[in-house]
Symmetry: D2
Subunit: 343 residues, 4 copies
C-alpha cells in the first residue's frame, strides 16, 4: 500500500473546514490532516471537537495547531486546503507554493482570469493568477492532475456550470434571448459569522433574492462557459434551510429537439464523471437528493415546442459545492480514484 | 350604521376557509359568517374550534352547520365564499346564483375564459363561464363592483400578474425573448390532504420544482396579461415554509430606461390600490414582509444596461393569494372600503 | 366616545416593540403611539417600516422619534411601554413616573421583590421596587387597575405560573417531590442581536437545554407561586421555531382525584379571564394553537393513579408572553375591556 | 481477509430501512445486502434509488427483490434486519430463525418480557419472546454476542436508558419522588405514512406532547432499568425537525455528591463503549451533536444542593436509535469491532 498523502487544512473553524476535516479523517489514502486555525494561534493547540462537537469520537482527534513553517515541514505536508477569506488565501497561497506545498483554495481569490471579472475581489494583481487551474474536475480533469494551485469553484457556479456545459459546449443553445439562472441556496452559504441575515428570525420561514446583477460568482459563469455578460443572468436567493443549492436554468435551443436527445447528450457528457448524476428526461432532482452527498444531480424538462428547456441542478453547497469538490481535485492530483473517500 | 352583510363560507376545513372565517369574524361590516362544511353534513353542527383550535375564543364561536337551502334562506345569506375543489365549485356556483346569492369562488373553476386554457380543469362547458369576473381588484375594480360571480385569482397568478401588469399594459416589454417567472410557494399551497409531498420529511429542508410547462395557473397569466404561451414561462417550486410566495420575474424592456422611471411607473399604476406596496428601486421584498398580511409587495432591480429587469413580488398565498383577496372583492361588491377588515 | 389614550413605546427595534406597535396602532381606544428608539436618537425621525417592513401600509405610519421630555409633554403621553434591556428600564422607569407618566415595563427590572431573587439582575436597590405590581392580570387584576408601575411578567414565567396557580392556590399539590417545569421556547425569546446561538445554522433542526438551575425567570415562579427553591425546578430549551412557548409541567397531587375535577377546578379559576383558554381533560394544546394570538392555553393529563399530573401550557412568547400581556395590563389600568384590541 | 457477512434487509421503504441500506452498502465486513420490500413483491425487482434517490450512485445499486426462501438460500443469508411493523416482525422472525437465519428486529415485537408490558403491542404469546435479547450493546454486550434474535431498542428508550443506567445500576438514585423523562423527537420517528400529524403544515413551527402516561416505550424503561411504573414518567414530544432526539431527565440522588463524581461515574460506566460520548460536567449535548452520527451523547447539570440532577441525552433516532444500533448488534454477533462501519 502506498504512503498516505499528508494534508493540511487552514481555516478549520468554518463550515467548509469542518467538512474537509470530516472527509479527510476518513479518507482511505490520506493520513489524518494537520489542522490549522486562528483559535490555535491564539490559544495554543485546541481539540477539534471544541469547535465541532459532532466530529468527536471516543478516541482523541487531531488537535488544531498553531501555524508554523517548521510544523508543516516536520509533518511533510504535501498539499494544503485553504478555507479562508479570499484576502488571506490570496496572500498565503504563493507562500505555500514557495515552500513546495500544493494549494487547493476554496475561496474566490484565484478563480478568475479576466481582470475585469476578478476586480470584484479587490485583490492586487499576482502573476500566479494565470497559473491557477479552475478546479472543476468534470471540465478540466487533465489539467487538474498536474496542477499546483487549484481554484476550487464557487458553490452556485458549480451548480450552474455543470448543468449548462454539455449544451453550451456543443453549441446547441440560442444565446440571443439570454440564459436565466435562478438559484436558491441554504444559509450555510452565507458563512458562520452571525449577522442580521443569518439570524434565525430573519432566515427561517423566509425567502429573499439578493445581489441581483452583482453576485461574484457571475465571473466564473462567464469564463467557464465562454459567455458575455449580456448572455447570462444569475439571481441568487437565500433559502430557509441549512444546506443545499437548487438552480433553475432557462435556455432556448437553436433547433427543436427531443427529450431523449437532450438526455442522451447530457448523460454522454458525464458518462465518466463519477460525481454527476443525470436524471432521465422529465425527472427533476430536489435538494434532498444531494444534501449530505458529494453528487451534483442534473435533470431537465423540455417544452412541447422542443426548444424551451428548463434545467434543474442540485448539490450540497458544502460538499460538491466546496469540500467534496476540493477533495475530488486532490484525488486527481495524486492519482487516486476521483471519488475516493467521497461516496 | 348600515345592516351588516350576511355571508356564508362553504369549505371551512381547508386553510383558505379558516382564513376566511378569521377575517369575516372580525370584519366591521359583516355579521358572523354562516359556516358550512362536510364535517357538519356528516356529524351535525360542529364547533369551529374542533377544526381550527387557534380560532377559539372564550365566547362561543359560530358552529359549522349542515348545508340546506332553507338555512341559507333563514339567515338571508347574500354572498357565499366557495373554498372547495374546483369540481364542486363548478357545480354549486350556478345553484347559489339561481337562489340569488352572489358567489366568490376561490377555486380555478371560473377563472379562464378561453376553452383551451380552461381544459386543464376538465370541466363541462357552462354559459356562466363568460359572465364570471376575474377577481383581481387592481385590474378589474369597476367590473367587480357589479359582479355576481367572482373567480378569485390563483395565488401564483396574483403574484405574477400584479408584478407584470404595469409594464405590460404600457407596452414597455420586449416579448420576443419571453418572460420568465420563477415562483416559490410555501407548503400550504399544496392543500391540507396529507400526501408524500406534504409530509414533513419530504418538504422540510428541501426545495423542488414541479409542473414545469404545465401548471394550471399559466392560463390566468395568458388571459390577464394578454400573452401567447410562447411569451411567458412559469415554473413553480415548493418551499419548506408554511406560507408565502415569492416570484422572481425576468423581463427585457423594449427601450433602455432608468430605475427611477420604472419605479414611478409602477407606483403610479398602484397609486390608488391600498393592498399593493411598491418598493423603491433596487429594494426587494422578501417573504417575511407580506406573510400574515393582505399585501402584495413589488420591487425590482434594473441592470446597468437599462433593459434587463428583475421583478420580485411577494404575498401570503392564503391571504392576498386567496382569502384576503376574496374579501377585498366582497368589499368592492358591497361598496365598503377596499381594504376594510384587511389591514 | 372617550378621548383615546396616549401611549409611547420606548425600544421599538426589538421583537416585543414591533408587536406593541402593531397592537397599539390598531387599538380601538388608543391614539397612534409615540414611537421612541435609539435609531431616531442617532439619525433623527425614522419611518417605522425601515425597521419593520411588514408593518408598512400605503398611508404613512408614525415616525420613530428622538426622545425628549418636551416631546412627551406635547403629546400628552399618559403611559409608556418600556421594551428595553433591564438596566435601561431600571433607570428610566423612575424618571417617567416623576413626570407623571405610568410605566409598563417589559424587562425583568421590576418583577422581583425578594432581594435574593432580584440579585440575578445586578441592579442597585430602588425603593420603587416594592411598589411595582407584577402584571399578571389573571392573578393581580385589582391591583393592576390602580398601578403606576407594572412589571410585565417573563414569557416562560407566564406559561408556568398560569398553569400552576389554580392548583397551588387551592393547596392541592404535594410539594415534597418537587414540581418539574420543562419549557421550550422559540428563538425570538433570545432577542434580536445576532449571536452564535441565534445563527440559523445553530438554531435550525436543533434543540438545546440551557441555564439549567440558573434561569432568571425562576425568581418569578418562587414569588408568584409562593414556593421555595427546592420545590420547583425549571429547565428552558431553545426550539427551532420563530415563536411560541410550550411548558410541560409535572406535579403530584396530595389526594387522588378525577380528570373532571381537575378540569372544573382550572376552568372555574379562569372563568372570567378572557385570555386564558382551558382545554377539556386529556386534551393538550400545541404551540400552533396560540402563536399569533393573545391567549395562554392550558391542558392536562392525569395518570390512572389520580395523583400524577402533567400540565401543558402554550402561548406566543411575544404576545401573551410580552406585548399582548402588556396591553392587557394597560386595558385594566384605563378601564377598558381586558381583551380590547387583543382578540 | 474473512468472508464478508451476508445480510438481508426486509422493509426497505421506510426511514430505518434506508439507513440500514446506506450503512450496510459501505460496511467493510459485509457483502452488499439483499434488499427485500413490498414494492418488489408487487412490481418485481426495483432499483433502490426509485425509493431513495439520495442513495443513487453512478454504478448500479442492488435491486429490491421479491421475497422467497429460495432466494435467501441462494444468497446464503446469515442475518436479516426486520424494519417492519411489529405485527409482521412478530410473525416473520420465527420463520427466519427456523431457516437458521439470525434476526435483528427493529420493531417493538420482541422487546418486552413482562406480559403486562408487552400487552401494548396486542400480539399473541410466543415462546421465543423470552429468548430474544434486548439489543442494547452497552448493557447486554455479552448476551448479544451469542444471540439469535435481537430486539433492537426503541429510539426514545435508548436515549433514556443510556442516560439513567449508570446511576440506577449503582443504586445512587432516590426513587421515591419519581424520575421524570421529558423527551423530544424529530418527525421521522412518526414514520413515513402521510398523516395529519406528519403534514408539514401541522409539524412545522410547532411542538406538541403526546401519549402522556401511555407511550409504548415505557415498558422498555421499566424492564431495562428495573423500575416500577410509579417510579418513572415519560412524556414524548414531537419536534419540528426531521431527525434527532433529546431527552431531559430529572432525578434526585440519595446522597449529595459533586459534579466531578457524577462525571467520573458515568464516564467509567461507558469507558469501553465506543458509541456513547460523555460530556464534562455542566456541558450539555444538543441535537446537532449527534444527528447523522451513530453516537449517543450524555451530559448533566447538578444542582448546588448536590442532589437534584438534570441529565440530557441526545441521539439520532434513525441511527443510534435504530439502524446504527442494529448494525452495532450485528457487529457484536459476528465478532467485528463494535463500531465497525458506524464511525
Amino acid at each position: 500500500m502506498p504512503q498516505p498523502i499528508r494534508t493540511a487544512i487552514s481555516g478549520i473553524a468554518g463550515y467548509a473546514g469542518a467538512e474537509l476535516a470530516r472527509i479527510l479523517l476518513a479518507h482511505p489514502q490520506a493520513a489524518p490532516p494537520l489542522l490549522l486555525g486562528r483559535i490555535a494561534d491564539e490559544q495554543g493547540p485546541t481539540p477539534l471537537e471544541h469547535l465541532h462537537p459532532n466530529l468527536a469520537r471516543k478516541q482523541p482527534l487531531p488537535l488544531i495547531e498553531p501555524f508554523s513553517w517548521q510544523l508543516l515541514a516536520e509533518r511533510k505536508i504535501e498539499v494544503v486546503f485553504l478555507a479562508l477569506p479570499h484576502e488571506q488565501s490570496h496572500q498565503q497561497a504563493p507562500e505555500y507554493l514557495a515552500h513546495n506545498i500544493k494549494v487547493i483554495d476554496l475561496s474566490g481569490a484565484w478563480r478568475l482570469q479576466n481582470p475585469t471579472n476578478a476586480a470584484v475581489y479587490n485583490l492586487p494583481p499576482n502573476p500566479l493568477q494565470t497559473e491557477a487551474i479552475y478546479g472543476s474536475p468534470e471540465l478540466h480533469r487533465e489539467k487538474i492532475r498536474t496542477a499546483k494551485l487549484i481554484a476550487n469553484p464557487g458553490c452556485y457556479s458549480t451548480s450552474i456550470i455543470l448543468a449548462l456545459a454539455p449544451l453550451l459546449r456543443a453549441g446547441l443553445v440560442d444565446l440571443a434571448p439570454g440564459i436565466i439562472c435562478d438559484s436558491k441556496s441554504g444559509i450555510s452559504g452565507a458563512g458562520k459569522t452571525p449577522s442580521p441575515k443569518t439570524h434565525f428570525m430573519y432566515a427561517a420561514d423566509n425567502l429573499s433574492a439578493y445581489s441581483v446583477f452583482g453576485h461574484r460568482h457571475t465571473g466564473e459563469l462567464l469564463e467557464q462557459l465562454n459567455l458575455l455578460d449580456s448572455q447570462i443572468q444569475f439571481t441568487p436567493h437565500l433559502l430557509p434551510i441549512p444546506r443545499g443549492i437548487l438552480s433553475t436554468i432557462y435556455v432556448k435551443l437553436l433547433d427543436p429537439t427531443t427529450p431523449a436527445a437532450v438526455e442522451k447528450h447530457i448523460m454522454d457528457f458525464y458518462a465518466s464523471s463519477p460525481l454527476v448524476r443525470v436524471r432521465p428526461a422529465g425527472t427533476l432532482p430536489d435538494i434532498h437528493a444531494t444534501v449530505h452527498t458529494s453528487f451534483c444531480d442534473i435533470g431537465f424538462q423540455l417544452a412541447p415546442d422542443g426548444k424551451r428547456l428548463v434545467l434543474v441542478s442540485t448539490l450540497d453547497n458544502l460538499l460538491k459545492g466546496a469540500a467534496s469538490q476540493a477533495v475530488q481535485n486532490m484525488n486527481l492530483m495524486y492519482g487516486f480514484k476521483e471519488e475516493e473517500g467521497l461516496a
